[in-house]
Structures are given as structure tokens and as C-alpha cells.
Symmetry: C3
Subunit: 346 residues, 3 copies
């Protein structure tokens, strides 16, 4: 293991994270690690009580821990009522490199329209393209090879990693993070069939993305047909998610990877959408709804937790059950017939 450089003392971290220090303030911390792998100089955390038993073998120099468990800690502590949140804040202090670039501010190979407006401290990577009348707010960073279309507006302190594509007339808020491969504002999927072929419906709306939104690698959000597609503030979207035209995703909703939401569906605020789930179009999902992974959502959902699908089983057993599934309505009828014939009430 290489010797890591001390980045903070524990006392500095306690102040930065606004938590209580229990132990020596001058302990040097070089990085973060899990309970299992942490060694000297590293800060770890206990959030899930399931892992309490790992404390005895923990070699970290310090722990972020809940006051109720602090007495079990084998080392110095940063005591927090919300250890996982404190760990999240701490992790941000240890980000090793600027994700895009630090110098020069505007790479000489970037292609920037004369009518684009960039705040003075914007960073633009190599071969990035910024088209006419785009505006980029203070502190935002545009990754290498990223393409920003005409009349796009990007707020302050947002990060677009390498090879992102933003079509024309899209607005993105402050403090957003868009990972590589993200595509915002491609045409929604709309056609009118004239009896022989599909006539394209031009997608004349845009996309509006609020503040503090993160969008994972290769996710796609289509522009609206007439009105805009809207992603409200604080929404977090994982990789390879597809959001169709005119969807509205309510604030602070979480959408896990590979989810597909068809057009004109409205998802409420503070929802938790499991990965690889699929939503039909024109649905309304209430606030604070939980949808489990791989759910097939074909109707609007009220509050609560929702699921679909069947669990994994040995293939030999599954094959037989699948045949029975195709006979399920018939089985139900036979069951009812039996009940009738034996005078058992339903």
C-alpha cells in the first residue's frame, strides 16, 4: 500500500462537516474507506447497524458514527446523528481530481460560436463545441468533445463530462452534473401513420432541467412535441435511463439505471423508481411512490409501493410454472367450478 498524503486533520473534518469530535484533533486523514478495508490514516463510517460487528476488526484511524454506537468504536470518532449523510459530505472533500480540466480555462481546440456567452471562469475541454447563442453560467465546466446546441442555457457550477450532447433550446440549472454520453433534447418519438408510412411529427418543444439534477452516463431525455419535457430540481437519474417527450419528473425523485419512461408520463416528487423498470406513456405517478426494480407500470399509481414481475427460480422449475401461467385463467375457472360442485363458498 502506497503512503497516502494527509489531506485533513480530524479536527478540520469535524469543523467542515459540523459534527462532534471524539478523539484527538490532530489525527491525519488521507482518505475514506469501508469498515472492512480501512487502514491507518483512513476515515470510515458505520451507518447500517448490520455492520456493527465489523467494528472490532476495523483498522481505520477514525469513524463517522451515530451517538448511540460511539461507545463501540475502536478509534476516534466523528459523531453524527446521520452518519450516512455525513459520510456523503465527507466524500466530497476527498474528490481527487477536477473531473474535467483545470487549465487552460478554454482549450484552444474548442469550437465556440462568437454569439455564445460564457462567464469568465467557465472551463471548456478539448474539441468541445458550443453553438450560437448558448450561455454558460459562472463556474460551469464543459467536458472534452461535448456538444452544446444553439440557444442552450446552462446555469452556474454545472459539470458536463466528456462527450455529452445537448440539442438546441434546452435549459439546464445550477449545480447539475451530466455524465458522458448523456443526450438531452433529441426528438421525441412521434409519428402519424398515413396508411402507408409514418409521417414525422416535428418535436417543437424543449427540455427544462432544474437545479441540482444529476444524470448518469448514456441517459437520454427527449425534447417535447409542443410543450417542454421537464426534470425538476434535485432529481437524480442513473445510467442508461430513457425519458420520453413531455414527461415531467417531480423534484428530488430518484430514478435507477436502465429505466424507460414513455412519453407524457408525470412522475411525482420524492419518488424512488427501481432500476430497469418501464412506464407506459400518459400515466400519472403520485408523490413519494416506490416502484420496485424491473416493474412494468401500465397504469397510473397512487401513493405507496408498487411492483410487478416474477422472482428468479431454477430454470427447470420455471419452465413448468411458465406453462401454468399461460393456463392461469383456465385454472381459475376450474377452481371456481370445483368450489361450486363441492358447495364451498368463495
Amino acid at each position: 500500500v502506497e503512503k497516502k498524503q494527509v489531506l485533513y486533520t480530524l479536527g478540520e473534518l469535524a469543523k467542515l462537516l459540523d459534527v462532534t469530535l471524539s478523539g484527538q484533533a490532530d489525527i491525519g486523514i488521507s482518505g475514506l474507506a469501508t469498515l472492512k478495508t480501512a487502514g491507518p490514516g483512513q476515515l470510515s463510517f458505520l451507518s447500517n447497524p448490520r455492520y456493527t460487528s465489523q467494528l472490532s476488526n476495523c483498522h481505520a484511524s477514525a469513524l463517522i458514527i451515530h451517538p448511540d454506537q460511539a461507545d463501540k468504536s475502536p478509534c476516534a470518532c466523528l459523531i453524527s446523528d446521520a452518519p450516512y449523510v455525513t459520510y456523503a459530505r465527507a466524500s466530497q472533500l476527498f474528490t481527487p481530481v477536477d473531473p474535467v480540466s483545470d487549465t487552460p480555462a478554454i482549450h484552444p481546440t474548442a469550437s465556440i460560436s462568437a454569439s455564445a456567452k460564457l462567464s469568465a471562469d467557465v472551463i471548456v475541454g478539448a474539441h468541445a463545441i458550443i453553438e450560437d447563442r448558448a450561455t454558460i453560467g459562472a463556474g460551469s465546466r464543459i467536458g472534452a468533445g461535448t456538444s452544446i446546441g444553439r440557444d442552450v442555457s446552462i446555469g452556474k457550477n454545472s459539470i458536463l463530462y466528456a462527450n455529452v450532447t445537448i440539442y438546441h433550446q434546452v435549459s439546464i440549472g445550477n449545480n447539475c452534473i451530466l455524465h458522458s454520453g448523456v443526450i438531452i433534447g433529441a426528438d421525441g418519438f412521434g409519428f402519424a401513420f398515413d396508411g402507408a408510412r409514418s409521417i414525422k411529427i416535428a418535436q417543437l418543444g424543449g427540455v427544462r432541467i432544474g437545479h441540482d439534477v444529476e444524470i448518469g452516463a448514456s441517459s437520454t431525455i427527449d425534447r417535447g412535441a409542443l410543450d417542454d419535457t421537464i426534470i425538476e430540481q434535485g432529481v437524480k437519474i442513473d445510467n442508461q435511463v430513457q425519458i420520453g417527450h413531455n414527461c415531467i419528473i417531480g423534484k428530488h425523485t430518484i430514478i435507477c439505471g436502465c429505466t424507460c419512461i414513455a412519453g407524457s408520463t408525470t412522475v411525482g416528487s420524492y419518488c424512488m423508481i427501481g432500476g430497469a423498470s418501464a412506464f407506459a406513456g400518459h400515466l400519472t405517478i403520485a408523490d413519494k411512490v416506490t416502484v420496485s426494480a424491473m416493474a412494468m407500470v401500465t397504469k397510473s399509481l397512487g401513493p405507496g409501493a408498487w411492483s410487478s414481475g416474477t422472482g428468479v427460480m431454477e430454470s427447470s422449475i420455471w419452465r413448468k410454472n411458465v406453462v401454468r401461467f399461460s393456463q392461469l385463467n383456465e385454472m381459475s375457472k376450474r377452481l371456481r367450478e370445483l368450489e361450486r360442485s363441492t358447495d364451498v363458498k368463495e
Copy 2:
């Protein structure tokens, strides 16, 4: 609401769309909007009779409407036997900006092989790459950062948006639209297992894409192993669709987002493939087949409508039903046993 510029008079639109005008020809139209949101200067449409009740509150200056409903319109009308098709055609008249670029024709930062052949009026965006012997037909537009491989042929009036990737030896027809992130001609997924490791099967075929094909953002179509992968004319493919090597997709078929079609499957013409569905390899799907969203297609399909999966329900109920699904074959046997013991005939 900002004052929008009049783009057409209603009389001009009636002529351009080849429909009957009912009302004043000199009404100025600045844009399109839904029945709900349209205001003065905007053209709306009524296609789905479900929305007829919205007519009374509609503030549009004009409506595209079916002759049977024209008497209910509160404003001027463009009367069409196919209002949705007319709306589609109208939408194309209101596209606000050229999606790629208007000037200069060939961006000075584009990297174009000396052996590539571009028709005189081709537009190429910044940092685009066109490799040896590629040919680009008249009026086609290559977006910023898009990469066109060797020996690729692109027809007339096709649009490739920013950051598209076309591998070598791919042909694309006229009037195609390929959205950002599309990748055509990556290797099909083929390996021979030698008992210890997977030996790559070089993918020696290409991809042939017909006229009038649209392919959504981040969709991928693999090159064939020996023969070509084929997308016939008029096919429309939504975002994040994966089409494996040696598939053939029949003309005018529609494939919704996040669908996965494994290698060597042939899909017929005029099919409607629901989103997030998955097809096994080596299947044959008939013409005009409808497959519902998230269907798992593990066998060849004849004509008709096909589905699979289970509908969404409250998670607490779902958990119990899922357990029963794993007992379904056993339940079926018990049912039969009961029938036997009670002399009920199946």
C-alpha cells in the same frame, strides 16, 4: 408570453397542407400548441375524440379538425380527413432551427479524408470525422463530433446529429435521421468457447439501412457476422434500442424505446414493437404484429397481438403472489387431483 412572429397565414397553411380552409385566410399563425395551452396566433388540432370536450375552452386561432367535428370548433379550421397526419405535416413547417448548422458548409475543424466524396451542398459540423472513401449524398448534414468510418455510404438529405458513430462499410439511405449517440456497425456479439476462453468471431458483414429510417438517441445496430444486418425503408426506431447482428427489420416497422433484439431475428413489416421489450435470437416475427411493452419474446410470432409479463400491483400483495407463482405447477397438479377426486371433468 412573448409575442411570436407570424410565420404563415392560415390560407398559406391550407395550401401547403392541402386541406380545406374554414375561416379567414389572413389569420396569422406563429406556432403550434395543444388544445389546452394554445393561445392567439397558434394553431392546434383535434385528433382523439376523447379531447372534444376541450374545444369549448380552446383559445387557439385555428384548429386542424375532422369534417365530422368541424361544427364544434370555436375558431377557424383546417378541415382534414386525417387530422393527426395533417398536424404531423404542419409540425414540420414550424421547425425552428436547422438541427445541425447552417454556415459554413464544412466546418474548418472537421477532419475529412482526401478520398471521401461529399456532394457540394453537404453540411459538416465542427470536429466531425469522415474517413477514407466515405460518400455523403446531396443535402445530407453531419453533426459536430460525428464519426463516419471508411467506405460508408450515406444517401441524400439524411441528418446525422452530433456525436453519432458509424463504423466502416455501413450504408444509409436517403432522408434518414440518426440522433446523437447512435452507433451503427459495432461488432455483433459472437464468440466460440474453446473450453477455457471465448474466441472472438470477427464480424465481417456490414449494416444496410434503407430510406426514410429514423433512429433514436443512443440506439445501437450491430454489423453482421458474415451477411449484413438490414433495416428496411421507413423503419422508425426510438432511443436506446439494441439490434443484434444479422437482424432484419421489415419496412415501416416501429420499435419503441429500450427494446433489445438479439441476433439473427427477423421482424416483419409494419410491426408495432412496444418499448422495453426483449427478443431472443433466431426468431421470425410476422408482418403487422403488435408486441406490447416489456414483452419477453422467446418464440417466433405469427400475426396478431402478443404480450407477456405481469401488471403492477401493491408490493405487499405482489410479494405473496410471486411466491404462489413459484408454486404454480404444483398448484395445477393439486387442482387436477381435486378434480379427479371430486369427479369433476376438466
Copy 3:
């Protein structure tokens, strides 16, 4: 059919492939084709006995064939105990063009940091970007527009096609193939909810990819939260696969297209993971496990073959069965009640 150039004699191929020649050594071979489409000058193969009947109509000049079937061949043979593996090796001899570029070695438009270290025979395409301290091993090829982040290490003879994105601190082994749109090292999806909003957990780990790994177009592999995400040697990943942070994929495992593996799941070696399947996080999958296409894997799996889902059926029948699925637990109870009332033992 155009006259193809002879690339090898059959005698040369027998030597290169280390198999037995039966027939004339001087037969000229210009390419490979399937049994059905092969013509004069082409080499075909018979691997699956199902296709034996096609031998009689085969017009190939030579066949790769198993010794047990060689007497049925209508033409010269390359006799192999593993015809499909021999075909795989042969296919590599017929790859028509260098997939990235042949000249010049470093395209003048590439943007390469002064601190990056490239071996002398590395090829870098137009507009590629190689950031600080990245190292590229001998014989590796970096496609046009591809972005290589800081402190990335790429081994020997690896190919990254056009428009690949590698974030900082990722290591990639020798002989790897990464197709266009691949994104390695984007942030894992981790947030701590503070009661009002999601606090980002900085993703401080990296990604380590072993030797001989192939990754299909638009697949994404996230960097670890604290430890690294690991893809072991010989793993083959198809298109549009998503692998979450801190996953470990065991050596020589095959993952078919559109599969989604949530964070911290460990998949064993030599597994076969069907396409469009989805794995929950924090699972452990044994070695040599087979998972069928579109399976929903919500628990750890021991050895064997595993499946889930329901098969496709006519939509009209499906609709009725789906309703019954939602009543399945109740049906089970009614069945038990009937059994009790009729004294039938389970």
C-alpha cells in the same frame, strides 16, 4: 457478385489454423460465408449438426467441418475437432480493414497531454483526447473522438473505437476491445438522503478491467464508491449493458445486451448472463451460473440455471391471465380450502 481477391490458399489456412487439410492445397479463398450463401472462392463451416442438410446445396470452395461429418462434405475440407472455434479463428484472418486507422500514427488533430505516455506504435485517431499522465501500451489504438481521462492506464494491443469515454483513474488490460459509446468510470449512483434532498456521495474508487475483455457499444461501467469496480480477464460484455459501482464480474463471464447489474453485486467466473436481465445490488452469483434472458435476479444465486418472467402469448389471453396472477395468492388459499373440505391431502 464482384470478383473478390484471393487472400489465402486453403493450404495456408490449414497451417494458420492448425487443422487438417482434406483437398487441394492451392484452392484460393477470398472470404467466409454461411453454408447457405457461400459461393466459389469462399470458405464456410458446419458446426451445428442441425444444418447438415444444407451441405448438399452448399457451393463453398471449402468447409470447416468435424471429422465425423467430413465424408458428407461436397468440397475440400479443413477438418477440426471444434469447427466453431476454428471458424472464429479463421474469421479473424479475414477482417477487412483496420478498425481505427492505419496512417498517420498520431492524427495531428488529436489533443494529447504533454504528460501522457504513449508507446511508439500507438495509433490515435482524429480529435481524440488523452489527458494528463495517461499511459497507452504498445500497439493500442485510440479511435477518433475518444476521450481518455487523467491517470488512465491502457495495456498493449487494446482497441478503443471512436467516441469512447474513459474517466480518470481507470485501468484497462491488454488485448481489450471497447466499442463506440462505451463509458468507463462515470460516477456510481450513490446519494444520502438528508430528509429534504439527496447528498451526493463522491465516487472515489476507480475501475479495473483485465486482459482480453470486450465491451459492446454504449455499455457503461461505473467507478467504485470507495473500492474499485472490477471486470476480470476474458469477460465479454455486449451492447448497452450497465454495471454499477463496486460490482465484480468474474473471469470469462459473458453478459448479453441490455443487462443491468446494480451496485456491489459479484458475478462469478464463466457465467452466461442472458440479455435484458436485471440484477439487484449486493448479490453474489456463483461460478458457471446461467441466467436466462430478461430474468429479474433479486437474490443471490447458487450454481445452476436460473430464470424468471412469463412467456409471450396472445394479448387477449394474456390480459385474462394477468388478472388471475393478481389473484394468485387468493386462488392458492381457495385451493387449500377445497382440499381441506374434500379431505384430499396436499
